[in-house]
């Protein structure tokens, strides 16, 4: 029967293609056929049979990898024909050949909508399948409503309902408004009563999608229902015989029920708790591993879902379930059957993050190490993840030792991953810093190719920030490059370390750096260091040579007498090389030689520790916090007419208001206050205006706690956490404050190797808009994206268009809107968090930044006549309305005023400049007018510096402006 359906022409074509002797033959045959089809399509008459046949030929050709870029209108014709056969081919071909951007798409969507609403269930099914396979927002917009009414319709055939549920899920994912919660909640739950298992499964699938997007908030009645459903299959065992799979009753259905259960936290209500625990205990009773692979797979699929629930409950769930789960997993990591072992390792990895289970997991260490040495890369990866998850201060030396040993023989598929994990563990759990350096050296020696820049940069950073370690690192790096076989990455690290700390090798170690080690006595002369480094020069890449040249320049400075005669010719030789970077360095270092010792010393002096803090800024923030008491007069501000309303009475303090302003952290809703809290202490204690995100905060100290906190979150697979590294804080601040120049509308706020956060800003009056681009630089998705910008009671925020994932290479933008309600002087925290990496080894990122929104952002220039300005200036004397800052001499005193958005009323290089502006807010006074605050500026040269004085009706505005101007100068804005 089936054979009779074959089209002879199609069969012949395929047979001929298969008979092709080589690719050229095949290509020739394909060309001929496609030419033929093209001709047929342009002919006047074409039978339906032929049209179907040619379209199938096109699909087959396309699958073989040939481009088929014509005939879409014929495909569309088939869809538009009333016959089932034609539509059937047409829809299949459309999903294979047509792209969403195709011209034929609108016509196809019309036909699709018609078929979905048709009375014929077979046509409905065809169109539903095609729309699911297509997916995408166009389809969601066009047919989403039709699909939804089919799903919830009365008297819908099973086959149609099943498909409609899944199509709706696919479309809901791109267009959540198709199923607003809670409007549809009870209808969805009621549909679980549908008679067939197929429909129940499809509806469960849809519910799972809704839960994943919206959470369980409005789904409370679903929980007892799921328990009942699970009991009905597991206990009553009257399952539909058609869903018994290799002697297991409806495994997929049960897996889906358990998946839905996983969305709920462990219930507190005893009447639910007890039956839930019973049913889970029942599933966890487990099944023996039998000889039937298919039976094993199905029964374990259910078991692993139950274990996932237990892991999800963590310590909130019953301990008996946890014990049972660990018991199963411990057994599985020891068995031979690779699939169950694989999942066992994966499960234990997640289990290990629960408090109290690590010890039990550690008992399986031997079995894990066996899996680490398996031939199967999948098992090795899981074993590596598990070792990583169970590593702690107590066993770090052992685990890292095992991993390093295995690294030597491991194949390249897993080496990069191992190197990264070893480096992280060595840093996180080092019993002492010398051990850390030793591990890094081993990585360089055994897997130099896989030590990426960020790993060795990190190592250099740690050495730089820990003076007692520097001499030891220098000795070790010298030894590492003494041999001619050293890896290029080792040469790079040595160039850096010896350039910075090679001078410490002149004398034996003393004081803090000495531990009685043999290496402490080693001394190495400058020329020996040079020789060790330079032997590699000719064989390394230009970027490594650049590092070597820099190291030479530093050595030359320190050991001038000893090395000058060798090094100068090297620099001279490089002034003519083709590589621009090398040439430039050589020229610079040569010209430096001629400079004064003082300048040389400054250029070539040791790099500062990476954890530098901007003490200038700290001081400034301390300065501003002193006046924090005398705010806040807001609410008494008189008039919307900018500078016009400046009656002295307007700024009298209002106690009630002041309280509210100070209680910034206890905002109207608790949610924003809890997230705001993290940033608050930083701002209040003036420690660091950016807050110390990232993993530098407690190297050797609190780092593991920070990681622990991350791992205890929802996602048990988190293997690392990243924030803004303290080494980047300077750059982050510079980027942030570059926005003080109002002419600047775009800049990168932050970048590391995973992500780049770019900002485009626009301000109009009291309203602002920040488009935040999340550029995914990694090669996987960024998931679970969260933007936290709770705003303050001075600046209200709203966030729109947050994507829930960013595929590799993409750069979607979300928008944060700001509305200025009152004066402010603090920065607005904004935290960007997401997950990257594989699900099983997720890296959690959380970058605590500040929004590029300042008092100056809401300034508008005001053209004020000179005499009016002078009159107001006099009226605004005295603190807190007036404040001043001193900055270096300015070439153009008016530039700074223009940069922050003020009107320059008068300017001359000798006498300075006067400016005026108004600070806009969206707050209204009792007359319904928007409140603004007039601001005046005076820039006056005073010998070796310039004074900038700011006066406004409102102390907080004045302070915000002075802070902004100071920050602008500190970061080179407006000083041109």
């Amino acid at each position: 029967m089936a054979q009779s359906l074959m089209m002879r022409g199609l069969t012949n074509y395929i047979t001929e293609l298969r008979a092709s002797k080589n690719r050229e033959d095949e290509e020739a045959r394909v060309d001929k056929e496609l030419g033929n089809i093209r001709a047929k399509f342009t002919a006047a008459r074409l039978s339906e049979y032929d049209r179907r046949k040619y379209v199938w030929k096109m699909m087959y050709t396309s699958m073989l990898g040939y481009e088929v870029d014509f005939g879409l209108s014929e495909v569309l014709n088939l869809i538009q024909f009333p016959g089932f056969k034609d539509k059937c081919v047409g829809y299949t071909a459309a999903t294979v050949l047509m792209s969403a951007a195709s011209d034929t798409m609108p016509a196809m969507l019309r036909a699709m909508r018609g078929d979905i609403a048709a009375a014929d269930p077979m046509l409905q099914c065809l169109a539903l399948t095609a729309s699911a396979n297509f997916g995408g927002s166009k389809i969601a917009d066009d047919i989403g409503d039709t699909v939804r009414s089919v799903l919830f319709g009365a008297m819908v055939p099973t086959a149609v309902r099943k498909k409609a549920a899944l199509v709706l899920l696919r479309l809901f994912r791109v267009k959540p408004s198709l199923l607003p919660v809670p409007d549809y909640t009870s209808r969805l739950i009621d549909m679980l009563e549908l008679p067939t298992l197929g429909e129940k499964q499809a509806v469960l699938c849809l519910i799972l999608g809704v839960l994943a997007k919206n959470g369980v908030e409005h789904f409370a009645p679903l929980l007892p229902r799921l328990i009942t459903m699970l009991n009905a299959v597991a206990v009553d065992s009257h399952a539909d015989p058609h869903y018994v799979y290799h002697k297991v009753a409806c495994p997929w259905y049960r897996v889906r029920i358990l998946r839905a259960l996983r969305h709920f936290p462990f219930p507190t209500d005893k009447t639910v708790q007890v039956p839930l625990t019973d049913v889970l205990t029942d599933v966890l009773r487990g099944t023996p591993v039998t000889k039937s692979l298919n039976h094993n797979n199905a029964s374990h699929a259910i078991l692993f879902e139950a274990i996932n629930i237990v892991i999800r409950y963590g310590t909130n769930g019953p301990a008996s379930l946890r014990e049972r789960a660990v018991e199963h997993l411990s057994k599985y990591v020891n068995i031979r059957e690779p699939n169950v072992r694989y999942l066992g390792l994966e499960g234990l990895t997640r289990m290990a993050s629960l408090p109290g289970t690590r010890e039990q997991v550690l008992r399986q260490q031997k079995a894990i190490l066996i899996s680490l040495k398996e031939r199967d890369i999948s098992l090795r990866r899981r074993a590596l993840d598990l070792l990583f998850a169970t590593c702690g201060r107590d066993n770090a030396e052992e685990i890292v030792g095992e991993l390093v040993t295995h690294l030597i023989t491991a194949d390249s598929a897993i080496r990069s991953e191992m190197v990264l994990k070893i480096a992280i563990l060595a840093e996180r759990f080092a019993p002492n810093l010398r051990w850390y350096v030793d591990v890094v050296l081993k990585l360089l020696a055994h897997a130099g190719d896989h030590v990426s820049d960020d790993i060795w940069h990190r190592a250099v950073q740690i050495v730089t920030n820990n003076p007692p370690l520097q001499r030891y690192a220098a000795v070790k790096m010298f030894q590492a490059v003494e041999t001619s076989m050293a890896h290029e990455t080792a040469v790079k690290v040595a160039a850096y370390i010896l350039g910075e700390f090679g001078f410490l090798l002149q004398e034996p170690a003393a004081g803090e750096s000495a531990t009685g080690d043999a290496d402490d006595a080693t001394t190495v002369s400058g020329s020996k260091q040079f020789v060790a480094l330079h032997q590699h020069f000719d064989r390394v890449a230009p970027e490594s040579r650049v590092l070597l040249l820099s190291a030479y320049a530093k050595l030359q400075h320190l050991y001038e007498a000893e090395l000058d005669h060798v090094l100068t010719p090297i620099f001279e030789a490089h002034t003519t090389v083709l590589n621009e970077e090398l040439q430039q360095r050589a020229v610079e270092y040569l010209s430096l030689k001629a400079q004064s010792d003082d300048l040389k010393g400054r250029v070539l002096e040791a790099m500062p520790a990476f954890e530098e803090r901007e003490s200038v800024l700290e001081a400034r923030l301390k300065d501003t916090s002193k006046t924090a008491k005398d705010v806040d007069e807001w609410g008494k501000e008189a008039d919307g007419a900018a500078v016009a309303a400046d009656s002295p009475a307007a700024s009298a303090p209002t106690p009630g208001r002041a309280k509210r302003a100070k209680g910034g952290a206890v905002g109207p809703d608790d949610e924003s206050s809890s997230s705001g809290n993290e940033a608050e202490p930083a701002a209040q204690e003036d420690e660091d205006i950016l807050g110390l995100g990232g993993d530098d905060a407690g190297f050797m100290g609190g780092a593991d706690d920070a990681f622990g906190a991350a791992a205890a979150g929802d996602s048990p697979n988190i293997v690392a956490s990243r924030g803004v590294p303290s080494g980047s804080l300077g750059a982050v601040r510079t980027a942030l404050f570059s926005f003080l120049d109002r002419g600047r509308t775009r800049a990168g706020l932050f970048a590391d190797d995973t992500v780049q956060l770019g900002a485009v800003v626009e301000f109009r009056g009291a309203l602002g808009r920040l488009r935040l681009h999340i550029v995914n630089k990694s090669d996987g998705d960024l998931r679970n994206i969260e933007i936290d910008c709770p705003g303050t009671d001075a600046v209200a925020t709203s966030i729109v268009d947050v994507p829930d994932r960013v595929p590799a290479g993409e750069r979607p933008a979300l928008e944060i809107r700001f509305k200025c309600m009152r004066p402010f002087a603090d920065l607005i925290p904004i935290t960007v968090s997401f997950h990257s990496g594989p699900m099983s080894a997720t890296v959690e990122h959380s970058y605590a930044l500040r929004a590029p929104v300042f008092t100056t952002s809401f300034l508008e220039a005001v053209a004020l006549p000179m005499d009016a300005l002078k009159a107001r200036w006099g009226a605004l004397a005295g603190e807190p309305k007036a404040a001043r800052a001193t900055v270096p001499v300015l070439r153009d005193p008016a530039a700074v005023l223009r940069a922050i958005g003020a009107e320059v009323v008068q300017a001359s290089p000798e006498h300075g400049a006067l400016g005026a502006a108004t600070f806009r807010t969206e707050a209204t006074n009792p007359d319904g007018k928007k409140i603004s605050v007039g601001c005046l500026f005076k820039v006056s040269p005073q010998g070796s510096e310039t004074a900038i004085e700011v006066r406004s009706q409102h102390g907080l505005v004045t302070r915000g402006l002075v802070n902004s101007i100071k920050a602008a100068f500190a970061h080179g804005v407006g000083s041109a």
Partner: protein
């Protein structure tokens, strides 16, 4: 969600490409090549799961769940939100259905009857979501379609 289902023979030739990520045709071909590159290195007694994050067209969290039958690899690429073992079972259901339909399915059936293979798969997985898991239900749906296909176009279509 399932990102794609691929049937590839022992020489790396695609026999079925069902892609739910809407890749371009060259991307599909590249995906087939890369998947085959990963799988062909593996012996038959290792586990049926492999990380697919290294495949250019897939995101990092992609897993390949596959079975190797005689001359064909049946591969499901999925994200982390699916049950790995469940998908392995699904491959089995798909192959069992093909086997029933073609009476001892072999590579040639997939080559010459790709229409039927598409129809069967459409009843198992739709738009990257598992539609049906009962072999009987799948066969019933496919048979109903086949019956309709045989009827002439002019005949009134009533289900």
């Amino acid at each position: 969600m399932i990102k794609g289902i691929f049937v590839i023979n022992n020489h790396g030739k695609p026999r079925l490409i069902k892609d739910f990520q809407r890749m371009t045709q060259p991307e599909q071909q590249q995906t087939v090549r890369e998947i085959f590159g990963l799988l062909s290195k593996r012996s038959d007694n290792v586990c049926n799961f492999l990380e697919g994050g290294s495949v250019t067209t897939f995101s990092k969290d992609t897993k390949l769940i596959y079975r190797h039958f005689a001359t064909l690899y049946f591969v499901v690429a999925a994200d982390g939100n699916e049950s790995d073992l469940g998908l392995l079972d699904l491959v089995q259901v798909f192959v069992e259905t093909l086997d029933k339909k073609f009476e001892n399915v072999c590579e040639l059936d997939l080559i010459f009857r790709s229409d039927m293979v598409h129809h069967i798969l459409d009843e198992v997985v739709m738009g990257g979501m598992v539609l049906e898991t009962s072999g009987k239900e799948i066969m019933d749906a496919v048979t109903a379609m086949e019956r309709l296909e045989l009827e002439t176009r002019s005949a009134a279509i009533k289900a």
